[in-house]
């Protein structure tokens, strides 16, 4: 018997096989079927036939469903995709909350990251503060863009620069060349004794300048009239510190200072200098008029020992001016070489220390990179922990760009925290840093707009550098892989992380090698045989007491601990005084040799323990030795002279001609930066400026007291000031010592940061693989086997880092050592030691961590609830 309701139910069931027929549609069709059925019944069909007719009228389920599917596709295509706003303020709080929550949850990780970044940023800040101070040297001169120093070619080798010019050059060019608006000479006149009432002291940096000095250099005159300071030849201008020393709070201008117990000089001005870093260092200024008044021939073109500075018209053609100045030199002193270039005053200091600026900036950036790498590595290593968060964000509609923004934002926030910490660190360590660099550095400089912008830029760059890789890494992550439950996320990017570890350790190894090499060179300098004995030599400046020198010398020699005394003109600290016009037996017409000239006395050889190569040294037993010469081996070689002893030699400047009586073995009379150059020695008591005493290493204090007492009896008005030669010589290598020290600190910091990073990385790795360790242990692996498994990978990386670092540091240090004529070799052991220390540090870091994990109870590792 046909049952309509059953038939309709069956028919509906058939329709429901297609999921497009939802309830609403199904109702449509059912009603239609019923209408059609009713119509067929009305037409006279029986129930079953009417139903069949109605069903066929409605059509097959498949064809109808396919039409609905088409509609659904149209609808899907037509639905506008979700376009979340570019900036969703509601999410910002969420981002911040996540960062803070992560900081709290992973304390060790956050500590490593932030401290690393803070230390890196602090290093950068310190170095860039120092660089900014160095770069600002001589930057304060009002006409700085047109202020030049004249650089001549050296007389013998014109390609070598020489800063000294003939005495009358500066006034001559000012008179002849309209382009020269002002010009001044500068001559250092050494140490002078100043006396005001009871205050007696030596001033080390006394300088003679022309009146234009005040129009050219912008050291502000805080007392005195700039146009009239030098109207009197016996005038002196003091720096604020010097004036303070003699006059305290009193007005200095108008007071009289007795110089060298001989000249009364009127203080006419006080300059501020402390705040104005300059390559010109002075305590007081005298006028060239004083030299004229003292009888110096101001028109002597042969007197070539003066620095010359010019202020040019802004429109001047430099090449033209240079040629014109050269013309003036050639016209008046044809034998002197011409002007090589005009050097901008503000570039002088920078050119001198460019190497250091580049070197230290590189080191600062290296340390920062090491810190940034920590950030990248630790962030991506932790990705497993954040994979679910990222997937949820993606599923909820976060775009790639949103995730990049979020992670970059996190990194900026961390950098910001690190930057604040860095500023604290900087203010904490600034005094020590100032002490090492001997520069006046202050955080106040940060108030300067450019510098502040620079630091903010560095901080932003750091945030960007350390955040961009993790950000891209996370944004790339596929949400499905994570949500499916199994996460390999932590292992993703492992090869990049390994690469970064290699970079980090390479940088550290490079720093270690550089530090070791610099320290080795300093040691080499300090311990190398200079060819003379510098230890236990005490020296005293003679001042104006040359004539009494012999008497003092004889008296002092009575002391048993004073072994020998020699009077000389110059200490072994530099080239000294030179000449290129001596003549000698067998000299070819065109053959010129640049000699350094040294005046010594008969006891020189004994005092300094210099060895003879040939002939003999000056001796009082031969009266003719007063006109004789002693050369060094380099001179004999440069002169191409065979068997020099007994040949004549002439030094035209003093019109002295005599025999060469001996040749001393080469010794380093100037810095080890320079090769040993030709020099000759002669006896000339009028030139002696120092008394050098070789004393016994026993009872030094008593010896010094004895010397002081004796000195007082001979020169009550000139207080004694003694120094030890080895200390003074050591000061020549101060910059090396300083860089060695600084580099040592930075290297330690870089290693510390790398180690922290490695520590973090290995901790996360061990945590991720703790189950693996547990299973290995259960299956019978030994603790040693597990430690070996984990350390192997990382040690390989550190070894690769060495392979990268060795050639790089070899090249860098080779370049640096080129600065020295006499240098230590690049020893293989430094490279091996650096490599080993990196391996050791890495091994200890990884080993201890792994050991701890391997020794844990496997049951604890495997338990997961």
């Amino acid at each position: 018997m046909f049952n309509l309701e059953k038939a309709i139910k069956k028919w509906k069931k058939n329709l429901l096989k297609h999921d497009v027929f939802e309830d609403g549609l199904l109702a449509d069709f059912e009603l239609h079927l019923r209408d059609a059925y009713d119509a067929q019944r009305r037409a006279g069909l029986d129930e079953e036939a009417a139903f069949c007719m109605a069903v066929s009228q409605v059509g097959t389920a498949d064809s109808i469903a396919s039409e609905y599917i088409k509609n659904r596709l149209v609808l899907l295509n037509r639905r506008s995709p979700l376009h979340p706003g570019k900036f969703m303020p509601a999410l910002v709080w969420n981002y911040i909350k996540i960062v803070l929550r992560n900081l709290k949850k992973y304390k060790a990780y956050s500590l490593i990251n932030i401290t690393g970044l803070a230390v890196g940023l602090a290093c950068c800040t310190l170095i860039f503060l120092w660089v900014s101070v160095e770069l600002s040297t001589d930057g304060f001169h009002k006409d700085g863009d047109n202020l030049y120093r004249i650089i001549r070619g050296d007389s013998v080798d014109p390609t070598r620069p020489s800063v000294v010019t003939p005495l009358p050059l500066s006034p001559a060019i000012k008179e002849e060349l309209p382009e020269v608006l002002a010009s001044t000479r500068i001559q250092y006149v050494g140490r002078r004794l100043f006396r005001y009432e009871n205050m007696i002291s030596y001033e080390n940096n006394c300088m003679v300048v022309d009146e234009d000095f005040f129009n050219m250099f912008s050291f502000p005159l805080i007392a005195g009239d700039p146009s009239a300071v030098f109207s009197d030849p016996y005038a002196v201008v003091l720096t604020e510190a010097t004036a303070q020393k003699y006059f305290g709070a009193e007005e200095a201008v108008g007071k009289t200072i007795i110089v060298d117990n001989r000249y009364s000089c009127l203080v006419t001005g006080v300059l501020s200098k402390e705040e104005y870093p300059s390559h010109i260092q002075f305590d007081c200024l005298f006028s060239f008029r004083l030299l004229a008044a003292l009888g110096v021939d101001m028109e002597e073109w042969q007197d070539v020992s003066y620095l010359a500075y010019v202020l040019l018209h802004p429109e001047s053609d430099l090449d033209y001016v240079r040629e014109k100045i050269s013309d003036v030199i050639t016209r008046n002193a044809p034998e002197y070489s011409t002007v090589q270039r005009l050097q901008l005053v503000k570039d002088i200091h920078n050119e001198r220390i460019r190497g250091y600026i580049i070197g230290f900036s590189t080191v600062a950036i290296m340390v920062l990179i090491v810190a940034c790498i920590n950030f990248m590595n630790l962030s991506t290593a932790r990705s497993g922990y954040r994979a679910k968060e990222i997937s949820m964000r993606k599923v909820a509609g976060a775009q790639r760009s949103d995730l990049i923004k979020q992670f970059l934002g996190e990194s900026f926030l961390m950098t910001l925290i690190a930057f604040v910490l860095a500023i604290l660190l900087v203010s904490l360590f600034l005094p020590q840093f100032e002490h090492i660099t001997e520069d006046r550095i202050s955080l106040d400089q940060l108030k300067g707009f450019t510098l502040l912008v620079g630091f903010v830029a560095i901080a932003l760059l750091t945030g960007f550098l350390s955040g961009i890789y993790p950000a891209l890494f996370f944004a790339k992550m596929h949400p499905l892989t994570v949500l499916k439950g199994y996460t390999r996320a932590g292992r993703q990017g492992a090869s990049v992380r390994k690469g970064l570890v290699v970079v980090q350790f390479s940088l550290s190894v490079i720093l270690i090698i550089c530090t070791f090499t610099i320290l080795k060179q300093i040691h080499f300098v300090n311990s190398s045989d200079l060819g003379y004995t510098k230890e236990n030599i005490l020296y005293v400046g003679l001042g104006e007491f040359r004539e009494n020198a012999d008497a003092i010398k004889q008296d002092l020699l009575n002391h048993p601990d004073i072994k020998s005394i020699s009077l000389i003109d110059n200490l072994f600290l530099g080239y000294g005084w030179g000449t290129d016009n001596p003549e000698w037996e067998g000299k070819a017409e065109e053959h010129k040799v640049q000699f350094s000239v040294r005046t010594v006395d008969y006891d020189f050889l004994e005092t300094f323990q210099v060895e003879m190569a040939e002939g003999r040294f000056f001796s009082e037993t031969f009266p003719s030795d007063k006109g004789a010469f002693v050369l060094n081996e380099a001179a004999v070689k440069a002169m191409n002279m065979e068997s020099p002893v007994g040949k004549w030699f002439r030094y035209p400047y003093y019109d002295r001609e005599g025999m060469i009586i001996g040749v001393v073995k080469d010794f380093h009379f100037s810095s080890l930066h320079m090769p040993i150059e030709p020099f000759f020695m002669m006896i000339m008591p009028s030139e002696y400026r120092y008394m050098c005493m070789r004393i016994s290493s026993q009872g030094i204090r008593d010896t010094i007291n004895f010397i002081g007492e004796k000195w007082k009896t001979y020169s009550p008005n000139f207080p004694i000031e003694y120094r030890f030669l080895d200390q003074t010589v050591g000061q020549m290598y101060q910059s090396e010592q300083r860089s060695g020290q600084l580099l040592g600190y930075f290297t330690a910091i870089a290693i510390l940061i790398s180690t922290l990073g490695l520590f973090g990385l290995i901790s996360f790795m061990l945590e991720q693989r703790s189950k693996e360790i547990g299973i290995r242990r259960v299956l019978g692996s030994s603790v040693g086997g597990i430690v070996n498994l984990f350390t192997k990978t990382f040690l390989k990386l550190v070894i690769v880092a060495n392979v990268v670092a060795w050639p790089a540091s070899f090249w860098i240090m080779n370049q640096w050592l080129k600065n020295y004529a006499y240098k230590t070799g690049l020893s293989w052991w430094i490279f091996v030691a650096a490599g080993l220390s990196a391996v050791m540090v890495a091994f200890l870091t990884i080993g201890i961590q792994t050991l701890r994990a391997a020794m844990a109870n496997p049951a604890d590792l495997l338990r997961y609830e």
């Binding site: 109702a27 449509d28 009603l31 039409e67």
Partner: protein, 112 residues
């Protein structure tokens, strides 16, 4: 026999034309089409509903459920202003097509 393509193209304008006279429900629309065309337009009833759904998606018609006189719930469709515009434009198009076709095939029949 009307081709499948022509049938598909004419469905929407015909439904719009029927609804322009007043609201109606599915079964009734089918009946009207059959009666007017004298059986030359053979629609499969079930195919009407996806078309109606699509037209509703396109905002040409709107629908609402009401209880009919026979105490049967029915979904009534009503033309929208947009639907009316569409109808006018369709009529115009069909007229143009028709005129062009006739002019080409049997020019005498055309009386402008």
């Amino acid at each position: 026999m009307i081709s499948k393509t022509l049938m598909a193209a004419s469905t929407r304008p015909i439904i719009l034309a029927i609804l322009s006279k007043g609201e109606d429900y599915g079964y009734s629309i089918i009946q009207k089409v059959k009666n007017i065309s004298g059986g030359s337009l053979e629609w499969t009833d079930g195919m009407l509903y996806p078309v109606l759904q699509r037209m509703e998606m396109d905002d040409l018609i709107v629908s609402k459920w009401t209880l009919s006189g026979e105490n049967r719930p029915r979904r009534y469709y009503k033309i929208t202003p947009k639907g009316r515009k569409e109808l006018a434009s369709e009529l115009n198009s069909w007229r143009n097509v028709w005129q062009a076709l006739v002019r080409l095939a049997d020019p005498l029949l055309v009386q402008d």
